[in-house]
Amino acid sequence: MKLTLSWLKDHLETEASLEEIVERLTSIGLEVEHVDDKAALKPFVIAKVLTAEKHPDADKLRVLSVDTGDGKPIQVVCGAPNARAGLVGAFAAPGTYVPGIDVTLSVGKIRGVESHGMMCSERELMISDEHNGIIDLPGDAPVGTSFATWAKLDDPVIDINLTPNRPDATSIYGIARDLAAAGLGTLKNVAVAAVPGNDPCHVKVTIEAPELCPGFAVRLVKGVKNGPSPKWIQQRLIAIGLRPINALVDITNYVTFDRGRPLHVFDAAKVKGDLVVRRAKEGEKVLALDGREYELTPEMCVIADSDGVESIAGIMGGEHSGCDENTTDVLIESALWEPLNIARTGRELGIITDARYRFERGVDPEFMVPGIELATKMVLELCGGEASETEVVGYAGHAPKIVSFPHAEVKRLTGIEVPRAESLDILSRLGFRPKGDGDPVDVVVPSWRPDIDGKADLVEEVMRIHGVDRIAPQPLGSHDAVNGKILTTLQIRTRAAKRALAVRGMMEAVNWSFIPAKHAELFGGGQPELKLANPIAADMSDMRPSLLPGLLAAAQRNADRGIGDVALFEVSGTYEGDGPDKQRRVAAGVRRGTAKLDGSGRDWAGNAANVGVFDAKADAIAALEAVGAPVDRLQIETGAPGWYHPGRSGVIKLGPKVVLGHFGEFHPRTLEALDVSGPIAGFEVFIDAVPEPKARQTRTKPRLDLSAFQRVTRDFAFVVDKTVEAGALTRAALAADKKLVAGVSVFDIFEGASLGEGKKSIAIEVTIQPIEKTLTDEDFETLAGRIVENVKKQTGGVLRG
């Protein structure tokens, strides 16, 4: 919403400076986004051309001697065809920034002749498109004074970023009312007098869609002369960014801004028969005033005559019946439209107009008739003619809202004490009418404030006018205790997993929650309920079923930038369905190239190898350990999902049913489909699937029992079938004596012809912890025998000879 300072002062008697006005507007909720104080026009002064001689070396240039008011003529080279002795125009001295050509002037030589400034055209000052010659002012314009001030072009323009709840502030009058209420002056009384008509309006109006049009006023003015509007109207319209068209159209725009009352004018000669307000027919077309043709639907409201659509109701008039300089009879329309319908129609057609801006917020119904009176008065004044009576159709009148307002509500919600009289006075100045002295008091809401529904709305009115900055901050009551744990288990796990993975040299990515459909399908997603109806791009269409496609793509993007050794992780949501319980919390990571835990690339102490399944496995277990999973009870099995390499991947389980994650290298077909290359391995663990630990009664750790006897280790090597898993063998060794065997680790895997076809050797180190006594050689023999026995029983392995 734009306005100029002088226009505001039409409605507001005030001594306040521009700065004060701007500051107050923002503080009462009419946020000033920009102020153009027209400082750019200040350097231009009125100057008189004393002599104009032909340039010695250029036919089209003239050398002027210019009087800028100080009696010392200045030499200026000028190419304008109208440059002549005696012309009075606008002069820019060297050092002046000329906005229309985006140049700061300096003294220059033009074809060998020095030029000390410039006589400007209107386009060069950006006050119009006129560029056929330099500005040519009346001979009595005062030489040496500011051109902008003389031409009334220095009127500051204020641009307000209006919130959608304030239709009353789409009018300059309404803004003046707010400022007056805030104590910045007095609102001028500009009541609109009715203009009597000579005869009934002969164009009749029928409303066939009353649900979209709660009122319609129309009036005919015959015998008008429609030329350009007066300069003062044109200047105001230009200042707020509108282009003057002709007097009739300019009047509608003027009233739109002045009073927030959009109007439309039809050339009555071009309207055939009576007018009807109805829904458009499916596919009905109209050529609008912007020169574009729009196809309409029955969801949209139009004003039609017997030829068809003449106007898109409340949004834009039709080209056919628009007013031009030949218009002699004009139909003025002032109507009410259903805000939601206007908003939807405007959006669907993609039309943004000043009328739509107001109608979709809600135009004051009680100003429908005064609006047409005001417009008629202006038409008669500016264009002459004879007015008919006003025809009003379908308007049932306005039943004002009444809000019960307990005054204590101001203090309760804002914390500040505003005296009751002052609160009610503020409301009265804004046009509210408190009825009586009771408390709560019934407050009648003015017709221009459709946004006011309840007492909280009235508190806001009092607060914003009384002054938000007068509310002193008050500490929120203490919770009177040391704050306890404030994170949920899942939040704690999320943080822990992130830090644990970052500590392993990985970098945290935040990838899109939506991924290409193809990627989603590859990772078990792509369900219809997880597809966006309106994705922002075709490749951001499906909610991700896994964090891996995003991470794999991110790793590849880095590789494509020349950084192939990357380790990335993400701890975030994945989606199995559209219900709140179907959003999972997952930690995932990928390593590419040689991005191993210890570092990547070549090194004098040993080059990093390519990443593989065991890097991913280590990351997965580290993440699970960080989130509190019972790592000693995890089971590792084969059978990871299809996007992994079937022989180089695993599933992490807790018991037979709970799957905590997967890890591995990837299936070549998956990588190919994702356009990802290079050695790459990754994992995904479901941190929301880890069972909640039992609540403990005490933080005391269990007692530490240290054995008095030294632990010893014994090595065994078993020959087993190639298919035997190391995990099975170590489990067998551990189970041989649960008391004495404290640990088993695998220290060598060997395959060779010497072992026989399909065989391999697994070497383990068994840690034995004597408990009650130092073990004798015989004891060791017995234990070793049991280990060999159990391994044989469980895996078929025999001690390697």
Binding site: T26, S27, G29, E31, T163, R166, P339, R347, L413, G415, D451, A456, V459, E460, M463, R464, V468, D469, I471, A472, P473, Q474, P475, L476, H479, N483, I486, L487, T488, L490, R499, A502, V503, R504, G505, M506, M507, E508, A509, S513, F514, E529, L530, L532, A533, N534, I536, M540, A554, R557, R561, Y575, D578, G579, P580, Q583, G599, D603, W604, A605
Partner: protein, 358 residues
């Protein structure tokens, strides 16, 4: 005897390593060593002779033993010196960087931790909710009227309608969690809600996915004055400045009444850098207000009994303001050069006692 001593001393001096000195020791002081043999002769001597020879032989033994020890120590020192020289390496050779120094936490995660640290101190808990929401939680319960522009396809991501014709949405703000919290928890409520949010928007400062933090206080007295205090304390703590100047402007949101927008005073005169607590620019930083009576009602609370305030701000935005990232899009690109530069070291945990950032 003097000849023997000279000869032994010469042998000791000539011994060039620990083995050689051991050989000399054995030859002199071993069971059958020359000096040991001399000592054995004492037994057969007369007392008078022993009186004379005894001290002489024992003296010889002691001198030889002492010389042996001294030479042995000398040789060990020499051996160590030689070994050390041989073991010398080029210590300027680089070592690999520790993984905990290489890893990075994304600025969004770090800032969420910072927010949690501050609000934890003020007695708030952290709440969360799902990204995929119903129309009810995202709009209706938050007092968005039918036909509000946010309910249109050009602002909000929708899913395909289900069999009942209802379309789920990607939440456009974290505010649905306000309702979800009120439904499950009786006041007093003090929560902050960080999370992902989504809107149909994409340019240097808008991203179709972004992060918001929402705050909600509900009890029987929380008011605008308390809200101003909480937000000013937060901004001071978050931006780590002793003072901030904030401007609360009346504004409009469907879910609050009264509603306010908040600007923070700052200095933007240095390119690429924003300083808070000084300067003369105002920058919009958050929206807030008293929870709308209709929202309280939708949460099952009587607006005449309970009241409170809520606010929301962009996590990505305050991260950009505090740490100076110029472009929001880079947050979601996983460029390791960006992560390395703007990310945080894994062990840099934001705390109030140690400072949020170092």
């Amino acid at each position: 005897m003097e000849t023997l001593e000279n000869s032994l001393m010469a042998d000791i001096a000539a011994a060039s390593d620990e083995q050689a000195i051991e050989a000399v020791r054995v030859s002199a002081l071993g069971k059958k060593g020359t000096v040991s043999e001399l000592l054995k002769t004492l037994g057969a001597m007369s007392p008078d002779e022993r009186q004379v020879k005894g001290p002489a032989i024992n003296g010889l033994k002691n001198r030889i033993a002492e010389a042996l020890g001294a030479r042995k120590a000398e040789l060990r020192d020499a051996a160590i010196t030689t070994r050390l020289a041989a073991e010398r390496v080029d210590v300027t050779l680089p070592v690999r960087q520790s993984p905990s120094e290489r890893g990075r936490i994304h600025p969004i995660s770090q800032v969420i931790d910072e927010i949690a640290a501050i609000f934890g101190d003020l007695g708030f808990a952290i709440a969360e909710g799902p990204d995929i929401e119903t129309d009810y939680y995202n709009f209706t319960a938050l007092n968005f009227p039918e036909g509000h522009p946010a309910r249109e396809m050009h602002d909000t991501f929708f899913f395909q309608p289900d069999e009942k014709g209802e379309r789920k949405v990607l939440r456009t703000h974290t505010s649905p969690v306000q309702i979800r919290t009120m439904e499950t928890q009786k006041p007093p409520i003090r929560i902050v809600i960080p999370g992902k949010t989504y809107r149909q928007d994409s340019d240097a400062t808008h991203s179709p996915m972004f992060h918001q933090v929402e705050g909600l206080v509900i009890d029987k007295s929380a008011n605008v004055a308390n809200m101003k205090w909480v937000l000013e304390e937060f901004c001071k703590a978050f931006f780590e400045v002793p003072q901030v100047k904030m401007r609360f402007r009346p504004s409009f949101f469907p879910f609050t009444e009264p509603s306010l927008e908040v600007d923070i005073q700052c200095d933007r005169s240095r390119p690429g850098e924003v300083r808070f607590g000084e300067g003369s620019d105002w920058m919009e930083i958050l929206g807030c207000g008293m929870v709308h009576p209709n929202v309280l009602r939708h949460g099952g609370l009587d607006p005449d009994e309970y009241q409170g305030f809520a606010w929301g701000m962009g996590i990505d935005r305050i991260a950009m303001l505090k740490y100076g990232m110029p472009d929001l899009r880079a947050f979601f690109d996983a460029d390791v050069r960006w992560l390395q530069h703007y990310g945080f070291r894994p062990l840099d945990m934001p705390t109030l006692f140690g400072g949020l950032s170092s």
